[in-house]
Amino acid sequence: MASITFKHVEKTYPGNVTVVPDLNLEIQDKEFVILVGPSGCGKSTTLRMIAGLEDISSGELYIGDRVVNDVAPKDRNIAMVFQNYALYPHMTVYKNIAFGLMQAKVPKDEIDRRVHEAAKALDLEPYLNRKPKALSGGQRQRVALGRAMVRNPAVFLLDEPLSNLDAKLRTAMRAEISRLHKRLQTTFVYVTHDQTEAMTMGDRIVVMKNGIIQQNDTPQNLYDYPCNLFVAGFIGSPQMNFLDVVITQKDGGYCAQAGGNSIALSPEMDKAALAPYVGKTMVLGIRPEDLEAVDAGSSHDLEGKIEIAELMGAEINLHVDFQGTRLVVRAPSTYAGREGDMAALKLKTHKIHLFDKETELAVAH
């Protein structure tokens, strides 16, 4: 069992390409932490630095209370699951799982016991004598997990392990990995660009961009209180709607003016934070489920033309053009409006997020 600590860690590749400029992060023992971000954000590099597959240019990386900057991967007590599984194609499932233990010269009986234990836990026992090419994608993924499990590592590193699986299998494996974490009670660090995986699996999510941590919080906090425009747009599907608004003051409260429409802001919003923005343009963020499509006759905040209506089953995603800005609205599937119709929209004012247009930081939620 082990915690992981990054202290001012920098990763620069030859040619002076800095991927991670100054990383400070603490991952607690037994925690399931997700590193999430777009391609090239440095999340995989961070994971590979923990694994020891990438050197650290400067700073200190701790696993437990030991600095591991110069410790070989095999001595870090970690195990890694790769995106493409990285199974040894010429070895049977048994040998794939046992290989690390054989290298560590673990006694044969012990290897056999651990391999069978892992195979049983992962439903791999009937396939122990098969080669990886004779397995399905999900089975291969489980072999990769088994290979990591048998080593009883202090830290599990998973690099986009589900991205090669189809949607159905991905959902099943997501649950399986969560169960595995609960059972093993080990530190898990999981890299993904899929925010559904991030939201459903982790105790904590670290959102990264250009090698810099944007926000490090629980999934719920990340969703409800994104710290900047990037996080707000990255977490959530369909993503949060953004609208340029001008802040005005009216009857002791604040309003957001959007193209001739006035949206009353919640009185619970931080007034002191909003005061400097009166008369200025801010970015208003609202999630699709917090925009209600209402009858044209009832009171509403905005109005726009439905361009596309995507039926999702229980609900319908309306893509509404509001004065040149595309807004996505999640409405119940019973909603009558269809493509080409006008839609009246009402915002759940207590769900509005306001961001500084210049710094892109969140000002009030």
């Binding site: 694994a51 020891g52 597959l53 991967p73 095999k74 970690i78 195990a79 890694m80 790769f82 995106q83 493409n84 990285a86 199974l87 040894y88 194609p89 010429h90 290989f99 690390g100 290298q103 560590a104 290979r147």
Partner: protein, 280 residues
């Protein structure tokens, strides 16, 4: 629109044309081999007749007996087998290691070194004969098996070919081995090398076929008939003023037998190897 009947007719015509072209090609390719077999049974007179006759008048083994008695065939076979064996072994060993290094390791000057390997591939091998002969002669190794093997110790083609193979193996497999506790050498021989089986088989076949048919170098470096290979030994049957073609052809047929047997055994790998290299 064409009718079904006319479409069927044009498809059949195209099939017939394809077959005619393929049969023509096959006849051209097989003709020298068949001619060699036929000549090996002819008398010297029959082989020189104008216009030439196709079939020998009798199927006498006389030419084969003459070939076997006039050349030390046991030595020639042995020398050839040893030369092929060592050339193949060294080609696999060094090409695999160098190919792996060029594909998977990062070191200073890698691209320049690989450029030199490629440059070597683009030069005709004949220009190396004199310096190679001087080296072997100065080592006092002329007329030995080592002399026959020497130029085949490293194969530029093999290095290039296996580098491409190693480049096709996902880097993560090597990284997984590294995390499993393998050092670089163990990663190479326990994990990476076993994955190159098909390419190594192709390289084996190419190296063996090339070594078996190599004439120039064995002829230059080993002048002692007992240390010659089959190809260079057979070349001694060619006289300055006349050549006993039937005996030469009988000897050639005997020399080809091991390769024909090997080809029949490893036919599938041979074809896969050629297809795999994108070679001719």
């Amino acid at each position: 629109m064409k009718s079904t009947a006319s479409l069927e007719r044009s498809r059949r015509t195209s099939t017939i044309l394809t077959y005619v072209a393929l049969i023509f090609g096959a006849v051209i390719m097989v003709f020298p081999f068949v001619w060699m077999i036929l000549t090996s049974f002819k008398t010297v007179e029959e082989s020189m007749m104008v216009p030439p006759i196709i079939f020998p008048t009798s199927l006498s083994p006389a030419n084969f007996i003459k070939a076997v008695t006039s050349l030390p065939f046991t030595n020639l076979y042995l020398n050839t087998i040893l030369m092929v064996l060592f050339r193949v072994l060294f080609a696999i060993l060094f090409s695999s290691m160098a190919g792996y290094a060029f594909a998977k390791l990062n070191f200073r000057g890698k691209n320049i070194l690989f450029g030199i390997v490629l440059l070597q591939m683009s030069l005709p091998s004949q220009i190396f004969i004199i310096p190679q002969y001087q080296m072997v002669a100065k080592l006092g190794m002329a007329n030995t098996i080592f002399a026959l093997v020497f130029p085949g110790l490293v194969s530029a083609f093999g290095v290039f070919f296996l580098r491409q193979t190693y480049m096709g193996i996902p880097t993560e497999i090597g990284e997984a081995a590294y995390l499993d506790g393998c050092n670089q050498w163990q990663t190479f021989y326990k994990v990476m090398f076993p994955l190159t089986g098909t390419s190594v088989a192709a390289l084996t076949i190419f190296t063996a076929v090339f070594a078996y048919g190599d004439l120039m170098w064995p002829l230059v470096v080993n002048s002692d008939l007992n240390m010659m290979t089959l190809s260079s030994g057979l070349a001694t049957l060619r006289g300055q003023f006349s050549t006993d073609f039937p005996t030469l052809m009988a000897g050639s047929l005997l020399a080809m037998l091991p390769m024909i047997v090997l080809y029949l055994i490893f036919q599938r790998q041979f074809v896969e190897g050629i297809a795999g290299t994108g070679g001719k």
